[in-house]
């Protein structure tokens, strides 16, 4: 690895100052599971690495049924899926954080780092889109917010400007009668990159048979993870049945513009979007019904 300096600021202000005023290239380090590999392999370069794990706002995990969830950008995945209340309230996020790498990766890797690395196949991003999450960004000019589906701009690129950092990901409250799920298609059971990844959330009516609204996020089939807007909006008011979920899957295929690579051809990936959208909607609806019966 090329030589670099290291700083571990303990406040947001100090972190922002370092990022803004550093001479040369600066890279932020959270869990390091992407950035250390990229620095070592020369895919990225840094004169200074700023470790943001000690900034209290970035380690915050606050959940309340009324206010929703505030997830500090460097909270590692294991804290997400070990949190008893998040398992039911934000199931898609929990599903995604459980399958990132193996256990050793999950001890360090953060949801914020997964988002900022901005891979088209990143597992948490479709789940964040399904949850309608927002990014809170600290910039030298103050704070701004960006919807997750607008955060990534190209493979490995996002809206962050020099001097900015992601502080937290903010989730609206999970309403009763709602459920969510994330699944990815991979050729083996564990430790692989998504061929297609889909996160879905549905809000059902009080009896559990009609969809009030839905949100579907799709990964690995376009240069950035996508919000399947047409399919999501189409589902509002429809019966929560397999047939309608399958039709939503067909609609979601329209946003897929995949590449062909050794993991799958473009045609195969597009087909999988339909399958995975239907599957995750069914699972999300089942979960929503479990919570209705409670």
């Amino acid at each position: 690895m090329k030589d670099f300096g290291y700083a571990a600021p303990e406040s947001l202000g100090e972190a922002s100052r370092l990022l803004q005023h550093a001479a040369g290239s600066v890279k932020i380090l959270a869990g390091g599971t992407d950035i250390i590999v990229q620095l070592r392999e020369g895919m990225r370069e840094a004169d200074l690495v700023v470790d943001v794990k000690k900034v209290p706002e970035l380690q915050e995990l606050t959940f309340s049924a009324t206010h929703g969830l505030r997830l500090g950008a460097s909270v590692p995945c294991h804290r997400v899926y070990e949190h008893p209340q998040l398992v039911a309230a934000y199931s898609a996020l929990v599903d995604a954080s459980k399958i990132i790498g193996g256990w050793q990766i999950q001890s360090r890797a953060s949801v914020g780092g997964n988002l900022c690395n901005s891979s088209p196949a990143a597992d948490t991003i479709p789940a964040l889109i399904a949850h309608h999450a927002w990014c809170e960004i600290a910039s030298p000019r103050g704070k701004r917010t960006v919807a997750v589906e607008q955060f990534c701009t190209a493979p490995g690129k996002n809206v962050l400007q020099k001097g900015e950092l992601l502080v937290a990901i903010v989730f609206p409250p999970s309403l009763s009668h709602s459920g969510s799920a994330y699944e990815r298609f991979i050729p083996r059971n564990e430790m692989d990159i998504a061929v297609v990844g889909v996160g879905s959330r549905v809000q059902l009516n009080a009896t559990g048979d009609t969809i009030e609204f839905a949100r579907i996020g799709v990964g690995a089939v376009a240069p950035t993870p996508k919000y399947a807007q047409e399919a999501s909006e189409w589902l509002a008011g429809k019966p929560a049945t397999e047939e309608f979920f399958a039709q939503a899957g067909e609609l979601a295929k329209k946003i897929a513009s995949p590449i062909s690579d050794m993991r799958g051809t473009a045609e195969y990936r597009t087909h999988l979007v339909g399958v995975m959208v239907k599957r995750t909607l069914l699972k999300a609806a089942e979960r929503a019904k479990v919570f209705i019966n409670h």
Binding site: K2, D3, T33, V37, D51, N189, E190
Partner: protein, 157 residues
């Protein structure tokens, strides 16, 4: 060259100070500076698990941790397992279960297993395979490893 930093951590129970450059991984520090060569370098990119150590009780890949990040942390390596020449139960079970050939992967498996058995004293086969998915072995095949972990769970119980 960036200035070397003094890092203080607790390694295998003893307070330890070492000097390292920011770009050095914890794995490099353990092996080259502290001469704790039990942790192995397989891939150096997070895929094989041979470098697994426990950091504040959690299994991590020491090739994906910077040495400077170990400041204030509690690190446990495979060297912490045997006491006074007496193998730890996990080591004994791997030995008796023939769960190793060349042994490159073994320290990583042992440390991940130690963490696994603390989390699940009676793991199912699924728990074992899921939690050891980030540890690769080129020689043994996984059945012997899984059986050894199961034997260890029974022995410790």
């Amino acid at each position: 060259m960036a200035k070397k930093t003094v890092v203080s951590s607790t390694i295998n129970g003893s307070s330890t100070e070492f000097l390292c450059e920011p770009r050095q991984s914890l794995l490099e520090v353990l092996r080259d500076t502290l001469h704790l060569t039990g942790s192995k370098e397989g891939c150096n990119n997070g895929n094989c698990g041979a470098c697994t150590v426990l950091m504040d009780g959690k299994p991590v890949l020491s090739c994906l941790v910077l040495g400077v990040e170990a400041e204030g942390a509690k690190i446990e390596t495979v060297e912490s397992l045997a006491k006074n020449g007496q193998l730890a139960p996990v080591q004994q079970c791997f030995l008796e279960g023939a769960a190793l050939q060349c042994g490159i992967c073994t320290p990583g498996f042992l440390m991940a297993t130690k963490a696994l058995l603390e989390k699940f004293p009676q793991p199912t086969e699924h728990d074992i395979r899921f939690h050891l998915a980030n540890n690769l072995c080129r020689c043994t095949g996984y059945d012997k490893i899984v059986k050894s972990v199961q034997a260890c769970a029974t022995a410790v119980r």
